[in-house]
């Protein structure tokens, strides 16, 4: 009896293991071959929603990045107590569209949060993101206290060797990075890599220990976003990252999507240069991240699709 039971369970277990392993490995090898799956997609000329729809389908659809049952985090920039027209935060319509898409792709839950600079409740409320994300079906996570962060190590980091990262990033299956394109007084530009400052607790350390290097170091984190989506619908071209008035904002109507965080920042920076000159050497976290093999600044070496609406 005992031996029979043992054999039975061993066989069943073995089968289960094989079944579980097989599809995921098959899926991974297949997905690279599917058409329309670009490394980087740039969209311009549309409204947030239709630019996103065109962009994500050119990236191969959300199901390329999210599997059924995944716990997903969508991390916009909600840093400031500013209304959407000031472009200090990610466009709420875009955040809502991504949340809906994740849920449609089978995500078991979608969490939205940011470690804000201004008082967090005012930021969540006035950015319009809390309401938009909730309406789209997301959960809002709290990120205003150190207790919501856990220490991780960054073995590849040059100056930033460890960081306290928000628990929802650590606990999720995949996360999507959704920054807004802005000029930035200290870091020169704020795009995808700079948006990591909102997943960590102690930002002040970064500022005190070579900001550009720390930004690059944090991008060596083992759990990188599966997708980076830079919102450039409204672009703050001066007085960033907080801005004073809507005079600081231009209606650029663009969107950049990529799996490569260095490439997407490079693309967004080149786009930004058409409004205001900004040398890539001065935004040195981009090239430092490239040297750490986080991604590439050579947009000719990757598969890029440009869509004009």
């Amino acid at each position: 009896m005992e031996r029979r039971n043992f054999l039975k369970s061993a066989i069943l277990g073995g089968l289960a293991g094989a079944v579980q392993l097989k599809p995921s490995s098959l899926f991974a090898s297949e997905s690279k071959e599917v058409q329309g799956e670009n490394d980087l997609v740039a969209v311009m000329g549309g409204e947030p929603l239709n630019m996103y729809k065109r962009g994500i389908s050119a990236m191969g659809g959300m199901s390329r990045f999210i599997k059924k049952g995944n716990k997903v985090v969508v991390k916009p920039n909600i840093g400031w107590d500013k209304k959407p027209e000031f472009a200090a935060n990610t466009n709420p319509e875009l955040v809502a569209a991504i949340v809906k898409d994740c849920l449609a792709a089978g995500a078991s839950e979608v969490v939205v949060f940011d470690h804000t600079c201004d008082e967090w409740q005012a930021c969540y409320r006035n950015s319009g993101i809390e309401a938009a994300a909730k309406a789209a079906g997301a959960k809002i996570a709290f990120a205003h206290d150190e207790k919501y962060y856990r220490e991780i190590s960054l073995p590849m980091g040059v100056r930033l060797k460890s960081a306290k990262i928000h628990e929802s990033i650590i606990d999720c299956d995949v996360w999507i990075n959704v920054p807004v394109l802005k000029n930035h007084g200290g870091a020169k530009m704020t795009m995808a890599m700079k948006n990591f400052m909102g997943i960590v607790w102690d930002r002040r350390y970064w500022h005190a220990n070579d900001l550009q290097q720390c930004i690059a170091d944090c991008s060596t984190y083992s759990k990188m976003p599966v997708l980076n989506i830079i919102d450039a619908y409204r672009v703050m071209t001066q007085n960033g990252p907080k801005g004073k008035t809507t005079e600081d904002v231009v209606l650029a109507k663009a969107l950049f999507l990529s799996t490569d965080i260095v490439a997407v920042d490079t693309a967004a920076l080149r786009f930004f240069n058409q409004f205001k000159e900004m040398r890539i050497e001065d935004v040195s976290h981009i090239q430092r991240a490239e040297r750490a093999k986080v991604g590439t600044t050579n947009l000719d070496a990757i598969k890029v699709e440009r869509i004009k609406i």
Partner: protein
Amino acid sequence: MYKWLKRGRVVLSVALAIMITLAFMFFSNRDNFIFSSILKIQFVPALLGIFTGSAIILLFLLIFVLLFGRVYCSTICPLGTMQDVIWRSFSLFRNKKESRFKYTSPISWLRYLFLAISAIPLVFGSSFVISLLDPYSNYGKISSEILSRSEQFVHNLLSEIFPQTIFFRSYSQFIAVSFIFALLFLMIVIIMSALRGRLYCNTVCPVGTTLGLISKFSAFRPVIDSESCNKCRLCISNCKSECINLDNGQIDASRCVACFNCMTVCKRGAVSYKYMWKKIREEDVAPIKGRREAILTMGLLGSFIAARAISRKMPAKEPETIDGIAPPGAKSTANLKSNCTACQACVAACPNGIIKPSTGQYGIDGLLMPVLSFEKHFCAYDCNVCSKVCPNGALLPLSLEDKKLTQIGQVKFIEESCIVVTDNTACGACDEHCPTKAITMIPYGDEGLTIPVVDRDICIGCGGCEYVCPAAEKAMIVEPRAVHKLATPPKVEKQEKIVVDDFGF
């Protein structure tokens, strides 16, 4: 009839005390001014705010007391209600005999001493002493330091149970002096009221003494009908003011808080709440003394108000240097120190939690009055809550537009402490936080670095830069402005609208 009067008074007093407490609670004082607006009907806030919109409230309160006696003390004052609750709670653990009050004679010299030491400095522009004795303001301190902290503790327990729906409230700054003062005051009031009912109100409280002087002459007063009274002493046992003297059949109107207990308990209907003004004219003998005192009190109150009015026209000399930044709306440190009673309504309402009771930044006579601290956060640009909740007019309401131009301090940039200089690396945290762009970044060296430059005229002193500066010795320090100034409006920087129809790569 008296039963219903008493019930009405109890319901109203409990409701008001709860609403006043809610003005200090986090869950109820966000995004609304319902509860904080009730604070304005308190006597000392109304008196101090007489020139800033509270004159009608003060007039109403005075007429109310002139008509009905110290009903204020048993209805509107939250500390009064608290003392009744304390007495009742202690009575639960006492036998009937121990729960009986006795008649005591007034300690008049002490009452007038407390009144004098509170009122005289007020005339000369210091609200310090009254801030330590005012019943409402001390109830505020208790609410903010003890009740609100307990609320925070419960809130955080709940946030452990429901981590997804209830957020953790980061612990606010703890100012030991303020907490200890509130705790000591609470303990003193508990002891006094547990043993002797309204002893605080009738010996220490300057508001009680003032209103007591007026009540001596009020239109309605409790009187004992010696014909019907059989001296059963039931009224005395229930008089928390300990002011019924059956030996001469008199009720001390200056100490009676018009709680209606005596009228409710008297089995023979011998105590009644009588209209006395008509009677005075008929008899015209005994109450004359009371009338004189009342007229004297009104006269003193009038000259007090006149003196305040004069001192307002001639503002006190501002100190050369002060260490504390007063909240926006304070106008000046002198204005704060002559109107603030440290009730902590602003401390409890600040969404960023940066207002704390002072510990000497304004000098000893500004102790526990609100001061800004940029240690944990900074003053939000789009916020004027503190200026709107102040019941005293120590902080005057500011529109958002005015608040954004109110210079409460000015930043000083200490270049040699700046990360860009010491480490030769990029930072710009200060520029990032500056809402008016008083701080901008200019090129530094030839490695593409930028360093802050400050325009002090545009700076409003919000402290964003000071808070966020990561340097070991802060390179951005906001210097307080003893008199708040109007800042130069931020520069309007129009930019030419470039139309782009390419990706740029």
